[in-house]
């Protein structure tokens, strides 16, 4: 991807991707150093500059690298998918190459362990399910689960996946609210999710 550029600006993001130990200040410096070494080994010496901003998805922060951008042929972004696209919108005449592969909205469950737990479906029902999301935590997105494949609290898809419905039932049992699950949950309105097309929020009270 990068072979065609003589100068590359490596831009990290010191928020979520830093928490994920994937694209923060530290990883940005490491990646830039590794790139320089790799190029040197091949006898090439492109200009590689590193920079890290607090949030690649917020315009105020994106502006802070504005003076570095014109000096480079391309930007290698360590932001998430949103960060990469935000840079591309601002620096519309620069190629922006993603350094990361954005996976999911998750939680740092333990050091070095990240767990997907929200699909941003736009129709939050966590209150009914003991704050365990059946959309994100059940491999089949069952609203009236569990399915017949759950065994010893493990999902049929892989024994390393905890059964979301087992978690829901245990949590509601603890809370004494298991009765919530006796109600039939009707089909989900997915139009609030990505199924309804790319989503956008505009809040006039925040705009001035």
């Amino acid at each position: 991807m990068l072979g065609r550029y003589n100068s590359i600006l490596v831009v990290g993001c010191d928020s979520c991707v830093a928490e994920c130990a994937a694209g923060g200040y530290r990883e940005t410096m490491l990646l830039a150093a590794a790139l320089k070494l790799a190029y040197q080994k091949e006898g090439n010496c492109p200009t590689i500059t590193e920079a890290c901003i607090d949030r690649q998805c917020v315009d105020d922060f994106i502006q802070r690298i504005a003076d570095l951008v014109p000096e480079h042929d391309a930007i290698l972004s360590l932001g998430c998918g949103a960060g990469v696209q935000a840079l591309a919108r601002t620096y519309f005449d620069k190629p922006i190459i993603p350094a990361l592969n954005t996976l999911f909205i998750g939680e740092t469950e333990a050091r070095g362990v990240w767990q997907e737990n929200c699909l941003a479906c736009g129709n939050c029902k966590l209150g009914y399910f003991g704050a365990v999301c059946p959309v994100a935590r059940c491999s089949k997105k069952l609203m009236n689960g569990p399915c017949g494949g759950s065994r010893d609290g493990r999902c049929e898809v892989h024994p390393e996946i905890p059964c979301g419905w087992d978690m829901i039932i245990r949590r509601l049992t603890t809370l004494g609210e298991l009765d919530r699950l006796k109600e039939y949950v009707p089909p989900v309105d997915w139009s609030t999710s990505h199924a309804g097309g790319p989503r956008r929020i505009v809040r006039e009270d925040q705009r001035s």
Binding site: K141, E156, C163, L181
Partner: protein, 307 residues
């Protein structure tokens, strides 16, 4: 209830029902499907046609049901929500009923990671319970999801599956109740090997008054070999196969394992038949349809009611 299904008449007539399963071919070979079905002709009250079972691509279950129907068999259309969204599911229900298919079994389906299209997007727009409610609303209220009225709505006899062995055990009967109130007229259970646990499940169902509201058909699968028993015990999702059963079949010489498997199946039928609330059996002889007559005969269930 307004479905013209034969299976419905058998069950409502108080007869002990016998259904079997027929997996469509991988491809469009009609002769192969018909050969399988001929073993079941006149032997069972209805035949379930699986819907891309274990996420392996096969002939569509609507098409295969229609072919069986043309042979004079009574098909039960299995429908999973894994592969089709609510538009396609409802459309296929219209089509199935137009082809004379009168029974449907509403399932979520095995996850696509089990099959031969592992990169597929799993749809799961609805779950099995929501699908039940969709089919019931078509039949009893004449409308599709969202309330829009339809002309000539499908009037299906509606089934659901239940796995008495999946965890958490205490939740299984509650989920069964949910399926009944969503529209299930009959239930076909997962293959039964752990009869004690099945009895406990039936006890729960009786205590909750569920056996008065739904026909429960006990799932029976004969082992072809000790290797199959082991494979099912270890690899197949949702199976509960007690060790003594795998040991029993492994304990006989290889050439006798098939007949031992059938013997176990027949014994299981006899035991479940004695459980109060069991309205029939559902024989899932996987790629072994030709053995179904032998099993049914040994279990003394050859004479199918004329209804």
């Amino acid at each position: 209830m307004k479905s013209g299904s034969r299976l419905k008449r058998v069950l409502e007539g108080g007869h002990f029902a016998v259904t079997a399963e027929c997996g469509p071919p991988k491809g469009s070979d009609v002769a192969k499907l018909e050969a399988k079905a001929r073993h079941l002709q006149g032997r069972v009250d209805a035949v379930n046609v699986t819907d891309n079972q274990t996420a392996i691509v096969r002939m569509s279950s609507v098409a295969a049901c229609s072919l069986l129907k043309n042979m004079g068999l009574e098909p039960v259309l299995q429908m999973v929500t894994r592969d089709r969204n609510r538009i396609a599911l409802q459309s296929d229900l219209f089509g199935a009923y137009a082809l004379g298919i009168l029974n449907v079994l509403c399932l979520t389906g095995d996850h696509q990671s089990f099959g031969n299209q592992k990169g597929a997007m799993g749809v799961f727009d609805l779950d099995s319970i929501q699908l039940l409610s969709v089919v019931r609303d078509m039949r009893d209220h004449g409308h599709i999801l969202g309330g829009e009225a339809i002309e000539t709505p499908p009037r299906m006899f509606i089934g659901a599956a239940e796995n008495p062995f999946a965890d958490p055990l205490t939740w299984r009967a509650v989920r069964l109740a949910k399926k009944i109130s969503a529209g299930a007229d009959f239930i076909q259970t997962q293959c039964i090997f752990n009869i004690d646990r099945f009895e406990a499940f039936m006890q729960q169902a009786r205590d909750m008054g569920l056996t008065d509201k739904v026909y429960i058909l006990a799932g029976i699968t004969p082992f072809k070999s000790a290797a199959m028993a082991r494979y099912m015990a270890e690899k197949v999702a949702g199976m509960d196969i007690p060790e003594e059963m795998t040991k029993r079949i492994a304990g006989v010489p290889k050439e006798k394992q098939a007949s031992e498997g059938i013997k176990i199946a027949v014994e299981t039928i006899e035991r479940v038949k004695a459980i109060k609330g069991v309205a029939g059996i559902h024989v899932m002889a996987i790629e072994w349809e030709h053995k179904v007559p032998e099993i049914i005969e040994a279990a003394g269930l050859t004479d199918r009611p004329q209804v």
